[in-house]
Amino acid sequence: AQSVTQLDSQVPVFEEAPVELRCNYSSSVSVYLFWYVQYPNQGLQLLLKYLSGSTLVKGINGFEAEFNKSQTSFHLRKPSVHISDTAEYFCAVSERGGNNRKLIWGLGTSLAVNP
């Protein structure tokens, strides 16, 4: 079974500051890793994903994340945030291989970007 922990429920940050949203996972099998974003009153949108290869993955809106297998982490970063980045961010994993395609989710981190 897999589980995902997002260590910060809320992250306030000033505009143009860097931000890191933390995600750790636990799994007995290899996994794919995802970050989704949910803007107010909207659905869940994929930010980026790690499938294989380079451990640093780049996504939309200037976000990137780094897969660290030894620390079982997949932290999300952005060097300079905008007001428009205010949203809920979710880390998720799915089992690699097999027929299981369900996503296992973290609790989410609410990013509040202040002027």
Binding site: G43, L46, A92, R101
Partner: protein, 114 residues
């Protein structure tokens, strides 16, 4: 850009009533999913559907729940005899298939059981 749509956006129902939540997945997608998020809790997987049958379901998805693809476009979640604890945001998702199975989500239906 194609998107997943869900109706209604908000449904209020009385305990014990049946509700049907509707989803229109992206047209060429083959896998369909329902997730729910109770306020303040994690998004939870309910069920996945492929080739006109359930491919996986969670412990939450008991006999109270059923899914159906009644035509070539809609994908529905039926909840029979709703309970207060069914109040949640319900998300539908679809994916094209293969790897990486990127799932595209709808905006959700907020179900309130009173």
């Amino acid at each position: 850009e194609p998107e997943v749509t869900q109706t209604p956006s908000h449904q209020v129902t009385q305990m014990g009533q049946e509700v049907i939540l509707r989803c229109v997945p992206i047209s060429n997608h083959l896998y369909f999913y329902w997730y729910r998020q109770i306020l303040g809790q994690k998004v939870e997987f309910l069920v996945s559907f492929y080739n006109n049958e359930i491919s996986e379901k969670s412990e939450i998805f008991d006999d109270q729940f059923s899914v159906e693809r009644p035509d070539g476009s809609n994908f529905t979640l039926k909840i029979r005899s709703t309970k207060l604890e069914d109040s949640a945001m319900y998300f539908c998702a679809s994916s094209e298939g293969g790897i990486p199975l990127e799932q595209y989500f709808g905006p959700g239906t907020r179900l309130t059981v009173t």
